[in-house]
């Protein structure tokens, strides 16, 4: 972790209240306050480290990369879902309250059970479906001594085609959008913002032929139609993925599916697929 140049004793301190829950001793979560030294660069994650290393070694939270890409350290800061590593004490001069991500069961302190979220990701089949198109990428690929079989060449995809889905491919699976989603709070079976955005990402990919396989889950009662378009998911997304836009576009696709089905009911199997694991 960061080593401030100044000694902690010379630094400003801020009150950080943390919601604690130790399953083996607490019936319900309790709040505990700590005075944490900070400067302009101190993140919420740095503050948690400081508490764990200096005040209470049992404080429990997830973290790894420290650079807002691994998606581990989502927490509620003053009631809003945030990445701990990208939220700074300097922005909370009156002190701050840190709690576990809302809408997930708490395992311990700031650690929540993400298994439902993982299940939803799996349900929407987040991978390219269909055989790669064997169109040769042409002159650009491979030096003279590369194998030249068509199957080993990349498919073509224009920058515009990449752009159609790229934003939705930037999701780091941090779960902040699920904490922001009132629908997921009410109904944990709702596929939720990140999973629907990921389904949309693959549906929009010019290399994919799997929309028909994903659509039953998206069209089901726990799919896109569960969303009441509050839009808070997109507000809290630390990566600008805009899952709300994906869900709304997904509703249009879902409506089209309905129209197609009236005319050819055998075209799509509407039975929702069971998650594979």
């Amino acid at each position: 972790m960061k080593q401030p140049e100044t000694k902690p004793s010379d630094m400003q301190h801020l009150s950080v209240a943390i919601q604690r829950y130790r399953p083996e001793q607490d019936d319900t979560p309790v709040w505990q306050s700590y005075q944490v030294p900070y400067d302009d660069s101190t993140s919420v994650l740095d503050a948690l480290h400081w508490i764990k290393e200096h005040q209470d070694s049992s404080l429990t939270y997830r973290w790894s990369c420290r650079m807002a890409i691994c998606g581990s350290c989502g927490v509620m800061v003053d009631g809003t879902p945030k990445l701990g590593c990208k939220t700074f004490l300097r922005d909370y001069p009156q002190g701050l309250k840190v709690a576990a991500l809302a809408n997930f069961p708490i395992e311990k302190d700031l650690v929540v059970d993400m298994s439902r979220f993982l299940q939803h990701l799996t349900t929407i089949k987040p991978y390219l479906i269909g055989e790669p198109s064997l169109v040769q990428a042409g002159s650009a690929s491979a030096g003279s001594d590369q194998p030249s079989s068509a199957a080993l060449q990349p498919q073509l995809q224009s920058p515009e085609q990449v752009k159609r889905y790229q934003q939705f491919a930037n999701c780091i699976n941090c779960g902040l959008c699920y904490s922001a989603c009132p629908q997921f709070g009410l109904n944990p079976e709702f596929l939720g913002p990140a999973a629907i955005a990921l389904a949309h990402r693959y549906n929009l990919d010019s290399r994919d032929q799997g929309k028909a396989e994903r659509q039953p889950a998206l069209n089901s009662k726990d799919g896109v139609w569960s969303c009441t378009f509050v839009g808070f998911c997109s507000t809290v997304c630390p990566k600008g993925v805009d899952p709300a836009a994906a869900i709304n576009q997904g509703k249009i696709v879902s409506t089209m599916d309905g129209v197609i089905q009236w005319f050819s009911p055998k075209q799509l199997d509407a039975t929702p697929q069971e998650p594979t694991s």
């Binding site: 130790r22 399953p23 691994c70 059970d113 990428a137 650009a140 920058p159 990449v162």
Partner: protein, 596 residues
């Protein structure tokens, strides 16, 4: 204690682990494959790789050229047969990822785009903006969900390997959520546990990069090879060490000292290239070891810049313009803004070297097999022999794909119905549970956080960019002392569920062993090569006569490791002077170009 039996167990859910799992599942769909990781796979540190993955792609490039760059980059300490296999298979692996949906950046024609990278004589680095590792990891993770035979054990922590008569028979792990032990029986185990950069104070690595797999294989008698070679990435953010990708320089970024001078021209990397016209293997596109060493010299000369969080130089990207920066380096813009409050469009980014990558690791043969039957290792935790004394940027993402596939296929082929008696399993498991039992019952006075902090400090002081006998000896003594204190550890959290203090204590035990191997190998390598630079008189130059050899560190209880030496495969390209910039061009002109 829970029990589980599987065919192939993979430890580590990063790029190498996931690629192995998919390869094993494709090789033999009937096998049961378990992927065990202490974090959800998409948290693995592959996620933080930014710049790209190398493979010969353009018509005017060649396999021979990538081979030469890699061997020269390694300061001739790479295994040349391994490098040859690697450069020949990298392209098809990147195409495979394309077929799995990786959002590679494209040219207007729809073909895959490649960019320049340090130490590479031709543009051959595939990229997905500046989040290549993130996209590779998520593509692999999502693709892995397709295979019903891949079962995940998310948030399980590896406690030990179960080894009987020089063969792997399984592992002991702990389910983090419950604290319950899990005994896994498997005749093939792949370690894909990543590097050990967190043993240093100042590093680009995630908190999970603590050398777990390295230490466990090592304690069971497998050699750790070339551990003295630790890569400092030249451009980390001050304070945090957060990585600012080499792609910044590949795209034309320049490094400036406090006088606004492009100091790299003074370190055998010049002449200065015109602004906005980067040249391969010259100036800012030199290799990482040489750039980090140049920073150290500038700092000694007082030509670095004072920053609230230490000495820095400037990485200037302003001439690239806002549009280009947002297209090619959007994550860098985001990181600079968030962590040092700099907009690279209008101001240079303060940077300094930070520990980034462990070139060495668990000794394997070219097929990722270790000296324990059925135990394989791949990715940063392994030393398959690709990187030698210095890794070239963008070779490691390709490595984990190429060798991940090899490891998965080998592990699948090795599977057998090994029968070990229950009594033997019981005995092995009891022994494996020793350290965690000791930590849970320990009633000493030492705190995990203090020991870890002092370890990181002593590594930075004694085993940094430049080393000498005095500093290394001091670090070894300090580590021996820390290991003694570690025996007196007190874990304050007595809970079973999600006890991260206990896990940090176990990780610290791993880190102490790995750090000791690094220092001991560094002490005995009495020459300067690649990322290992000695300041002692007589050791400041490469010494092929005595040290064109790999170091092998063998674990010894209660003392520093025994170091052996192993010959290097130099069968295809004999050692020569390692030159960059104009000096390299003159060298190339004076020797006739080799046929491809």
């Amino acid at each position: 204690m829970k029990q589980l039996t599987t065919d192939v167990l993979i430890v580590g859910g990063g790029g190498a682990g996931l690629r192995s799992a998919i390869a094993a599942a494709e090789a033999q769909p009937s096998l049961s494959i378990h992927l065990l990781s202490k974090v959800y796979p998409m948290r693995s540190h592959t996620v933080a790789a930014e710049g790209g993955a190398a493979a010969v792609t353009l018509q005017h490039d060649s396999i021979a050229a990538h081979f030469e760059d890699t061997v020269a980059g390694s300061d001739w300490l790479a295994e040349q047969g391994v490098v040859d296999f690697f450069v020949k298979h990298a392209y098809q692996e990147l195409v495979q990822l394309e077929h799995w949906g990786c959002p590679w950046s494209r040219q207007a024609s729809g073909q895959v785009q490649v960019r320049r990278f340090g130490g590479m004589k031709t543009e051959r680095t595939w990229f997905a903006a500046d989040k290549t590792g993130f996209h590779i990891l998520h593509t692999l993770f999502q693709t892995s969900l397709k295979y019903p035979s891949i079962h995940r054990l998310d948030e399980y922590f590896l406690l030990d390997l179960l080894v009987h008569e020089q063969a792997i028979v399984g592992v002991l792990a702990i389910e983090i959520a419950s604290g319950e032990l899990l005994q896994i029986l498997a005749s093939s185990v792949i370690l894909a546990t990543g590097g050990a950069g967190r043993v240093f104070q100042f590093n680009t690595n995630g908190g999970i990069v603590t050398g777990d797999g390295m230490a466990l294989a090592y304690r069971h008698g497998v050699a750790l090879r070339d551990m003295e070679f630790v890569q400092y990435h030249p451009t980390g953010l001050p304070g945090s060490g957060i990585l600012i990708t080499e792609a910044c320089r590949g795209e034309g970024g320049i490094l400036l000292n406090k006088d606004g001078y492009r100091y790299l021209q003074d370190y055998g990397l010049g002449p200065e290239t015109p602004l906005g016209q980067p040249q391969n293997k010259t100036m800012e596109l030199g290799p990482r070891d040489k750039l980090s060493q140049a920073f150290w010299h500038e700092q000694q000369q007082g030509r670095t810049i004072q920053h609230p969080q230490g000495d820095v130089v400037h990485l200037d990207l302003r001439h690239l313009g806002q549009r280009y920066l947002l297209e090619r380096l959007p994550f860098i813009c985001e990181l600079a803004k968030a962590y040092v409050n700099i907009d690279p469009v209008t101001a240079p980014i303060p940077i300094r070297p930070a520990v980034h990558y462990t070139m060495g690791g668990i000794l394997t043969d070219a097929h990722c097999a270790t000296s324990i039957r059925g135990l394989f290792a791949v990715g940063e935790c392994a030393s398959v022999g690709l990187h030698g004394a210095n890794r070239l940027g963008s070779n490691s993402l390709s490595e984990l794909l190429v060798f991940g596939k090899v490891a998965g296929e080998q592990a699948a082929a090795h599977c057998s119905q090994t029968k070990v008696s229950d009594a033997v399993m019981q005995e092995l498991t009891d022994k494996a549970a020793g350290p965690i039992r000791q930590l849970r019952q320990g009633d000493g006075t030492e705190q995990w956080a203090d020991i870890r902090q002092q370890l990181a400090q002593t590594m930075e002081q004694g085993c940094g960019i430049y080393r000498d006998e005095q500093g290394l000896t001091a670090s070894l003594l300090a580590i021996a002392d820390l290991k003694r204190r570690y025996q007196q550890l007190k874990v304050g959290d007595s809970g079973l569920a999600f006890n991260t203090e206990l896990l940090h204590a176990l990780e610290l035990g791993f880190s102490l062993d790995v750090a000791e191997a690094m220092c001991q190998a560094a002490l005995l390598r009495k020459e300067s090569r690649g990322a290992h630079q000695r300041r002692d008189a007589n050791y400041t130059k490469r010494n092929d006569k005595n040290f064109l050899q790999h170091s092998l560190a063998y674990y010894q209880e209660d003392q520093a490791p025994r170091i052996d030496w192993q010959a290097v495969d130099c069968s295809m390209m004999p050692p020569a002077a390692r030159l960059y910039g104009d000096a390299a061009k003159q060298q190339a002109a004076s020797t006739s170009e080799k046929p491809v």
